[in-house]
């Protein structure tokens, strides 16, 4: 038996197919995964993401602490509520986790980490906290529901009463505490929407109200096809402790400036940059029929070999897409070994889909 979110009984009652995800019993779908995917691209869908953990970092030196611990630079966060995506690295430059950090005020930041890494993350955060005198508080009292899709904010906005106007005014990649909710205009689907944190004991009613407001319940299956179309990395698949963000398509999230900022993993990344980065993460579209999957071998003729890190059938594009880690010199044409056959695939820029529209 795995860990359960506050919405577990709700999922069971809805007839969800449950799977283990990072030690949690989570809904993979409630019927057709493809219909759930389309609901988010075309209208509004919701996901129980309560297995992810909010952690509050408080103290006078909270900002200094996060500038040391994160590869992206929280000095960029100047407006209250603004969010930043970052990797947290080990000394070898490997990715311990990827996370979102919200700047609430100079003495309070909120970090949202992945389910499968939460225990490891808390231990890591706490081990560095003493030197900066900050307090690390896991917010296990909060559930989290993501509502995503072109109509998601309008539909969810009808349920939050007096807070609706302020929530609808949130800018992209910003969050705000509003009554019992912390509402952020963020997500993992490539669509507009909110991620809503709320007290654990309010989650089941809020979920039911969203359903009544016409928001489709969606499982982790659709979440995975949506994030892959949106070109977003999945921790544990596309990067982990043994690979740097520079080889994971995440160079844009590493703030090397200012050069004097000494963040964990910086020295290792500098060495890697100096010696040449041997591999890169690329987007792939399969040109032949079939389905790309993680761990399939990629052949770059005359250059070398790589491996799929994620792959799926894209319901929006009706063809197979994926991410692969390949030699840095890889060009546009590669082959993928699918059950012993070498099939043609094309290297493309991602995201593959944004705001409901195909980009490839």
């Amino acid at each position: 038996m795995g860990l359960k979110t506050p919405l577990y009984e709700t999922h069971v009652a809805a007839g969800a197919r449950l799977v283990d995800f990072g030690g949690w019993d989570m809904p993979v779908n409630y019927g057709s995964q493809i219909e759930e995917h389309h609901a988010v691209r075309r209208d509004a869908g919701m996901f129980d993401v309560s297995h992810m953990l909010s952690v509050d970092v408080t103290g006078a030196r909270a900002r200094d602490y996060l500038r040391h611990l994160l590869a992206n630079d929280v000095a960029k966060l100047k407006e209250s509520g603004k969010a930043l995506y970052s990797c947290m690295l080990n000394e070898r430059g490997g990715v311990l986790d990827d996370l979102i950090v919200y700047f609430i005020n100079d003495e309070w930041f909120r970090v949202v980490v992945n389910a499968g890494t939460r225990d490891k993350d808390i231990a890591w955060l706490k081990s560095h906290a003493g030197a900066f005198g900050v307090d690390i508080k896991p917010r296990t009292d909060l559930a989290m529901i993501a509502v995503q899709g072109p109509n998601a904010r309008a539909k969810a906005g009808t349920l939050i009463g007096e807070h609706a106007a302020a929530a609808l005014a949130l800018k992209h990649f910003s969050g705000r505490e509003l009554g019992p909710y912390f509402i952020a205009r963020t997500g993992y689907t490539g669509e507009d929407g909110w991620e809503i944190m709320l007290p654990v004991d309010a989650a089941a009613k809020f979920w039911a109200d969203l359903k009544a407001a016409g928001v489709a319940q969606c499982g982790l299956g659709a979440r995975d096809t949506l994030r892959l179309e949106a070109g977003m990395n999945l921790y544990g698949n596309d990067m982990d402790e043994n690979v740097s963000p520079l080889e994971s398509g995440l160079t844009w999230t590493v703030a090397f400036d200012p050069p004097e900022r000494d963040f964990v993993g910086r020295a290792a990344l500098e060495t890697l940059r100096k010696n040449g980065i041997p591999r890169k993460l690329v987007g792939l579209v399969l040109e032949d029929r079939g389905v790309l999957r993680g761990h399939q071998k990629v052949v770059a003729p005359g250059i070398g070999e790589g491996e799929l890190t994620s792959g799926t059938f894209s319901p929006t594009l009706e063809r197979s897409i994926g991410f692969a880690r390949v030699p840095a010199a890889t060009g546009e044409q590669v082959q993928v070994d699918i059950r012993g056959k070498l099939l043609a695939a094309r290297v493309v820029k991602y995201p593959f889909v944004r705001n409901g529209k195909a980009l490839i």
Binding site: R17, S32, Q33, T225, R289, G290, V291
Partner: protein, 130 residues
């Protein structure tokens, strides 16, 4: 509860076999199997003329989630494959015992059919999976 027609034979790996009046055997996957796999997005059927062994991998069905091997319930030569699944793999979800059939075999040993599970025995396999 998934549908388990009483006139078919089954493997415990969720394939069905139907003996046709001309002595050939049609093969597909069960309603329970398609429901477990979820929306199918790709089906690889065997080539006509290929020789299959009972219990050997014969086809591949891929859902959004994963690829799964389909095993042949019977030995023999493939005499037809359902080419409609190339464009419409969802037929397996919509009609697993009809339009969603996978391939037809000319059996080399029709007696093998007797070794397969009948509907009540297969139903026990499905119940045990829950």
């Amino acid at each position: 509860m998934s549908s388990i027609p009483s006139d078919l034979k089954y493997l415990d790996s969720h394939e069905w076999a139907r003996l046709e009046s001309d002595g050939t055997v049609t093969v597909g996957i069960s309603d329970h199997a398609q429901g477990s796999l979820g929306d199918l997005v790709f089906v690889e059927v065997p080539e006509v003329g290929k020789t299959l062994a009972k219990g050997g991998a014969a086809a591949v069905v891929e859902s959004v989630k994963a690829a799964s091997d389909v095993y042949s319930p019977i030995s023999g030569e493939v005499i037809a494959a359902n080419e409609a699944l190339g464009a419409s793999p969802e037929l397996v979800n919509q009609d697993p015992y009809g339009a969603g059939w996978l391939f037809k075999v000319k059996p080399s040993n029709a007696g093998e059919l007797e070794q397969l599970l009948d509907a009540p025995a297969y139903e026990k396999v499905v119940e045990a999976a829950h």
